[in-house]
Amino acid sequence: MIVLNGERREHRAGEVVAALVASLGLPARARGVAVAIDGEVVPRAVWESRAIQEGARVEVLTAMQGG
């Protein structure tokens, strides 16, 4: 299990951040997208290599109207 944007979700062993982002229908290197895991920013540079661990709290954020 992982928690993605507050929702429980099955954990796919070895899934990297880039794969998760892609699975959400976002183009690779989409502008306006950022990812945090367990309260830490995941730089785009490591999206391809960084695997998501069991139990991770993942936040995938995008630009929206505001402020």
Binding site: V33, A34, V35, T62, M64, Q65, G66
Partner: protein
């Protein structure tokens, strides 16, 4: 050329940019991206704010992810620079993380720093704001803090390295105008960096007054996006900021208790 006479450099130097426009526009509250685009054009703003929020997961409103992508496309199409904010953060920690995520998402070192202390008024939390500002400056951000109208706090923020200060006129979205013009003028005297009046603007005269008080720019969001005709209000704000800046540079007449004839008394005829 009056401009030139009044001020050799009419450009606003903000966060290392040179801007023709003195108006910052918020993207929140517009009923459609088409209205947003039209308002950006009418406002002639070059710097607009955006927020970061959770991506709606598939199965949820699909159009949404699309529309969010579309937001960036619209801003790119209008040729404006993105100013991410940390709206909704109540602690320095959350604001700092949000700022770092924004840097990743938008590849910019600019951040409009908001650390809120009260849910009803959305007023800033002075100590947390100062703490977050310090950390972000150390981390290389160009920090534009949304702050109270307290001149001492404004100077503390500049002392830790903020590139500008964005004092409020009144609570966000209240349309109350500038509740304490006196403090805004004091802030102008207290710091060397640009002062951007943020929050509280309700109509054009509020924006003109902000510039007359010495502000270098004005930020508007709800006042434009929630007006009955957002595009017309965007044009109004553009003209108001120009008017206020021109008036300040022109050197207004002093206020006097009594009258001064605008027509000379000398030479008045006598008919009886």
């Amino acid at each position: 050329m009056t401009e030139t006479k009044a001020d050799p450099s009419p450009l606003l130097c903000l966060a290392g940019r040179k801007l023709d426009s003195r108006l910052l526009l918020g993207t929140g509250g517009f009923r459609s991206l088409e209205l947003l685009a039209a308002a950006i054009r009418a406002s002639r703003s070059e710097l607009v704010t955006v927020a970061l929020r959770r991506l709606e997961l598939p199965g949820a409103n699909a159009a949404d992810g699309a529309s969010r992508g579309a937001l960036i496309d619209v801003l790119d199409a209008e040729g404006v620079e993105v100013l991410p904010n940390t709206a909704g953060c109540f602690t320095a920690r959350d604001a700092v993380i949000t700022a770092k995520l924004a840097r990743e998402a938008f590849q910019t070192d600019l951040i409009k720093l908001e650390v809120i202390g009260d849910e009803d008024t959305l007023l800033p939390d002075a100590p947390e704001l100062l703490k977050a500002a310090e950390q972000l400056v150390d981390d290389g951000f160009v920090v534009l803090p949304y702050t109270t109208d307290d001149p001492v706090l404004a100077r503390r923020l500049v002392d830790v390295g903020c590139a500008a200060v964005m004092p409020l006129g009144a609570p966000i979205g209240s349309g109350m105008g500038i509740r304490n013009p006196y403090n805004i003028a004091l802030i102008r005297e207290s710091v060397e960096v640009p002062v951007v009046l943020d929050a509280g603007i309700g109509t054009a005269s509020d924006a003109a007054l902000a510039m007359e008080l010495g502000c270098d720019a004005v930020m508007v969001a709800s006042a434009v996006s929630r007006a009955q005709d957002p595009v017309a209000m965007a044009a109004a704000m553009r003209a108001a900021v120009e008017a206020g800046l021109l008036a300040r540079r022109a050197g207004r007449i002093p206020r006097k208790t009594y009258a001064t004839p605008s027509t000379p008394v000398a030479g008045t005829p006598e008919f009886s």
